[in-house]
């Protein structure tokens, strides 16, 4: 009778014994291991090419699923950069009473410049205002049809505090304080709608995040399902490999690489879609920008973001494949 060995110890012993028995006959080394991985990487890619239509369909589904949040991200990025520019220019605009004389307005301007909360005051006379409007696209005809200048003197007060959501209340206080000046007919803080925009943006951001999460899950499922079918179609191969002593890791490897390729190629096509989409909307977008005379430049997917997109999609591909393969190869045994 054999002695009753410690279970765990015996397992390790027996693995070691068999591994040693093997390695004494064929030496294991690292370069061989990498060569094997490289071979599997190439082989799995060629396997995708073997079924070009089916592979392409899966890749395009992944690409479309990824390009949706990617495209929204680019849109959001552009809106964000527009609002960033506006934030810098944000001022309290004071519209003075039309009957006010230039000297009185200048006096007010000096008085306000002295305030601690005010960085500078820009004085815009009636004539300057008119010229500004004349220069502005779309207003020329209206302005030239006027008999007299209807514009008031305007003071552009630039507060010391920059505008963001946190400083908004104190800026509103400043605006109210400026509005009480007797020369001022109306005071406007354009940060108000900036805040509304910021709220819309953060709503948009969350919307894009949620959509991204959903679509990344969709990519998981697409890859998982495709890999599951690939395992199923190679069931016999998996069975035989298991019978001749392939480890789970060995059997898993080609499927993981397959998932990797699906992910990378899906990500690549998604990036292409986004670049193509950006190019397609760039002409009308640039006309729009010109109209607003903004120095803003249309942004698209940059290199970093393409790399990030590929990394995420490759990761999702591999993990999706891993889950699908693990669930299925365990069930494949000789009946």
């Amino acid at each position: 009778m054999a002695q009753k060995p410690n279970r765990r110890g015996a397992t390790r012993e027996s693995i070691k014994a068999t591994q040693n028995a093997w390695s004494s006959r064929s030496s294991f080394n690292l370069s061989q291991y990498f060569r094997q991985h490289q071979a599997t990487l190439t082989e799995s890619f060629l396997r995708l090419l073997g079924y070009p239509l089916a592979s392409m369909m899966t890749i395009m589904v992944i690409a479309i699923a990824l390009s949706l949040p990617g495209g929204l991200y680019v849109l959001l990025k552009n809106v964000q950069s527009v609002t960033d520019q506006w934030e810098q220019q944000s001022v309290i605009t004071l519209y003075l009473f039309p009957q006010l004389e230039d000297t009185q307005a200048l006096a007010l301007s000096h008085r306000l410049s002295a305030l601690a909360d005010v960085a500078s005051v820009e004085y815009i006379s009636k004539e300057e205002g008119l010229r500004y409007f004349e220069r502005s696209s779309g207003y020329e005809q209206i302005m030239s049809s006027l008999l007299e200048n209807p514009l008031p003197i305007v003071l552009r007060v630039i507060p010391t505090q920059s505008v963001d959501v946190a400083t908004l209340p104190s800026l509103q206080t400043l605006r109210d304080q400026l509005a009480t000046q007797e020369e001022v007919e109306y005071a406007e803080l354009d940060a108000q709608w900036l805040q509304r925009l910021a709220n819309i943006l953060s709503f948009g951001q969350r919307f894009v995040y949620a959509l991204s999460v959903l679509l990344v899950i969709a990519v998981f499922l697409i890859v998982g399902n495709t890999i599951r079918m690939a395992v199923e179609s190679r069931r016999n191969e998996v069975l035989v490999m298991k019978l001749v002593g392939a480890t789970d890791a060995y059997i898993r490897r080609p499927f993981l690489y397959m998932g990797f390729w699906f992910g990378v190629l899906g990500g690549l096509f998604a990036s292409l879609c986004i670049l193509l989409l950006s190019w397609w909307v760039s002409a009308p977008a640039e006309r729009l920008i010109e109209l607003y005379q903004s120095g803003f430049q249309l942004q698209t997917f940059n290199a970093d973001e393409i790399v990030l997109c590929l990394t995420i999609s490759a990761f999702v591909g591999v993990v999706g494949a891993w889950i699908a393969v693990n669930r299925h190869i365990a069930n494949i045994e000789l009946q």
Binding site: A2, K4, P5, R7, R8, A10, T11, E13, S14, I15, T18, Q19, A21, W22, R25, S26, S27, F28, Q32, Y33, Q36, N236, E237, L239, V240, M241, K242, L243, V244, G245, A246, T247, D248, Y250, E333, L334
Partner: protein, 223 residues
């Protein structure tokens, strides 16, 4: 490889007893036949040795190690020590003879040059050296079975199991296949062949284990 079954039982979840109280000892370098009607438990016994299934009672000792102590992770390494030949040969039809035979070496990460050398040696032993580029479908039944045998012996296993290896072959081919097993046994491999061809088994003059309804009813010479 030394194999010892001690009152081994296998009960399926359906409640059916595939094996019960099976005991025998197959010593290192021994050759034996396993006979019995279909459904007597021959395949189940082979599956237990390959750890495709686990026994529900008793002990199986392989070279003194209790198979119950081997976890899932140890199974592939155990199988690399065991060569198996199946009735339906289990060849991969989309790979050439060479690549079918190379499979056990590939999965254990052998060096490509080594693989080529060993595959050709195995094919030479079964007389198919000139067919390495063929695909299995282009071969006759006997040739396919010999490819299966080459694959089973290519990594020099310590135990060779064959489950009805001559099931679909005519008597002449069957005898050839059996002679091959005998040759492997002569160089020290432990061999166990399951077969219901009692005439053939008797002619081979080796130890015969007979199963009937999951029980070992005979363990002796020559059927």
């Amino acid at each position: 490889m030394d194999i010892e079954f001690q009152r081994v039982g296998k009960k399926y979840e359906s409640g059916q007893d595939a094996l019960s109280q099976v005991s025998f000892h197959l010593r290192r370098g021994e050759m034996a036949f396993l006979t019995g009607h279909s459904g007597a438990g021959k395949s189940t016994l082979m599956k237990l040795m390959m750890m495709i299934e686990r026994q529900t009672s008793g002990q199986i000792l392989i070279d003194g190690v209790d198979l119950r102590t081997m976890g899932r992770r140890a199974i592939p390494f155990h199988r690399r020590r065991v060569g198996v030949v199946f009735q339906n040969h289990q060849l991969l039809l989309d790979r050439s003879v060479f690549h079918n035979v190379a499979l056990p070496l590939q999965v254990s990460g052998a060096d490509p040059l080594q693989i080529a050398k060993r595959v050709r040696a195995a094919l030479d032993k079964v007389g198919l050296l000139d067919k390495e580029k063929y695909y299995p479908m282009a071969l006759s039944g006997g040739e396919q079975q010999r490819v299966g045998i080459a694959r089973a012996v290519v990594n020099k296993p310590q135990l060779l199991l064959a489950d009805e290896p001559t099931g679909n072959l005519d008597p002449k081919l069957s005898a050839e296949i059996m002679n091959l097993f005998q040759e492997f046994n002569r160089v020290g491999v432990t061999v166990l062949v399951a077969s219901h061809d009692l005439g053939l088994v008797a002619r081979m003059r080796h130890r015969v284990l007979t199963l009937s309804q999951g029980r070992m009813v005979n363990d002796g010479g020559f059927g």
